[in-house]
Every structure is written in C-alpha cells, then in structure tokens.
C-alpha cells in the first residue's frame, strides 16, 4: 500500500529464525559512551550486546559495565537483533574504532 522497499534485514513480523540469527551482523556505534568506561576500552576488545529496553540495545564490557546505548543502522538490523535476543540468541560487538569519543563496533552473533 503506502510502503517503500527498504534495505531488508527483515525477519517477517518481528520474529526470528535461527538461521537468520546466526548470520546477522552489521555496524553499530556507541555515540555517548560513559567516559570512565570508555577509557578502559581498546580496539579489538569485545562487548556484549544486550537489551537496554524492549526496543534498544547496549554495549556491556566483560566485567559487566555498561558502555552505552548502541546505534545500529539499518534499523531493520536492530529490530532483527532484538527479536533474536528475545529468542535466546546472544550477540557481541568487536570494537573497531575509538575516535572522537565514540565507539565503533561490528556486531555478530556469539
């Protein structure tokens, strides 16, 4: 009807399939990280990507410190990851850059 086609990471109506969940990956950024936690991070390190709310994600260090909310684009990737986490899958973000106070990640399934 009124829709346009988008970059498609869709998992249908917001559900997920195990195959999709294992292969999901993409770029994310933590743009307002907690400065004290950011100072402890280094490129190549992995963060856990967990639910911050029912509709958003966060990066968490191995010691359980929250780095900040993760901005993911396209948004269909974010919704797919959330659906997969809700179905019991786990994700991680490898830090690729720590420049200008933001933390760039590549997100993949664990």
């Amino acid at each position: 009807m009124s829709g346009n086609d988008n970059n498609d990471f869709s998992t249908g109506s917001g559900g997920s399939s195990q195959q999709d969940c294992r292969t999901l990956s993409g770029q994310g950024t933590i743009m307002s990280p907690v400065p004290a936690v950011l100072a402890t991070l280094s490129v190549g390190e992995y963060l856990d990507i967990t639910l911050r709310t029912v509709t958003s994600l966060q990066g968490v260090t191995a010691s359980g410190q929250v780095v900040g909310g993760v901005f993911v684009n396209p948004s269909s990737l974010q919704s797919a990851i959330i659906a997969c986490i809700n179905d019991g899958n786990e994700y991680q973000g490898r830090i690729t850059s720590l420049v200008g106070g933001s933390c760039e990640l590549i997100i993949t399934a664990k």
């Binding site: 346009n4 086609d5 917001g14």
Partner: protein, 255 residues
Amino acid sequence: MKTMNENSWQLLCNAARQLPGEDHELMPGVKWGDYAELYTPAFWKIQYISHMQRAEPRQFYKLGNTILEEIVVCLLGGFGMPSEVGLAAFDRLKKRNLIVSGVSWDQLYKAMSQPFELSDGKKVTYRFYNQRTKYLYKLLNKPDLEAIPVHSDLELRNWLLTIDGIGLKTASWITRNWLDSDRVAILDIHILRAGLLAGFYEKEYDLNKYYLKLEQQYLSFCDALEVSSGIMDAIIWEFMKKTNRLAISALKHTN
C-alpha cells in the same frame, strides 16, 4: 548482507549527534526520545534522513494514466483483495475500454464476473464482483466526472469521498499518489501504533471515527520533525509492518 557505505554511515551518525536531547520537547507533550531506541520521534527522524540519503528516495507510483483510472484501480484493490487480482481486473477494464464516463452496467458486469487468468495461469474469480461492479458503475456514471477537482488535494479528497466504496483512507491514498500531497495522510493500524509509541497519539482511537483528528496530529508531528508527511508515512508504515510483533510487545510495555 547489505551494509551502508562508510560515508553514509558517518553522515547519519553526525545527524544523530545533532538532534536535540532526548528530553527536549518536539511538540507539546512529546519528547524527542533516544534515536537509538526504536519508534521514538528521534528514531523516525533518523530513518527519514537515512531514507533521503538514497539516490531516488521517494517512490509513490501512479497506477493509472488518468485520475479516473487511478480511482478505478484503487477501488478494485484494497480490502484484502490480492493486488494481482485487482490489477488483472483493472487491466481487463482498460483493454475493453470500460473506464469511461457513462459505461453500461452489462458491459461492466460481464467484464467483472468472468474469471481472470493470472500470470501463473491460475484462473480466479474476483471476490465481491457484484458489489464492486455497483461501485464502479456508480462512479463511472457520476455526472461530474469532467470536473474532478485535481487542482487541489483537499478538494480532490472531499470529492473522492462522494464515491461509494471510498472512505477517508482510500481517498487519501489516491490523493497522495495523484497529487503528491503532503496535506493528507494514509492512516491505518501501523501508523496508529507508531503514534502511540512515539507519543503523538495518546490512546487507541477508532480510525474510522476520528480519522481527521488523527490525521491532523500526525501532520503536526511531521511538521515538528520537519519531514515530508508522505515520505514519513511510507517509512513508518513499512517499518511497523516489518516489526509488527516487536511493536505490539513495545506497546504492552508502554501501557
């Protein structure tokens, strides 16, 4: 898997950084929210910016060559009708030159009641062809077909509402597609849910009863975001449809 190119991604991150803080008010009673949280106003603004980064972002297609054809094709589709069947019926009416003022009932009825062969060779009967033929017949025999007000979006929509079988949603759809209008909105359950999650709707109003009020609120939201309401409508609709289950779950958490 598709990924954004680095430049687009950086532009988007910069745009996100420049948005007002999440507690800032976008419009009375509605805060911007966090752009990294699905369904917030800030999230929709970022979706819009991302959409506009494309080479050809806006895609509203006219299905007909004339306004009359556009109305007919919209009358033939919708209401759960598979688009392939609606388009097959439209194609037949066009080929038989029946989308004209003063068409006869018999010709129209015959064209609509005969089975349609789809591209896969399957033969199907148009559901409710009797009722839909009545709508078409009434439309094509309206005395003011020569004076359809295509110069004004709101006048066109009002005129469309005088046609049996066309309600506000379909009238708005035709108007937006034909005139590329940003003064009307195509509201449905997906936009309604998005409004509840973003905060520009306070409760689940009955769309049929409160369409114009809800439309005004939606248009105010788009004004505040400084986005085209038509493009935003398409972006919201597509995303809400794709994430239906998640959106319903999020709504439960907001209640």
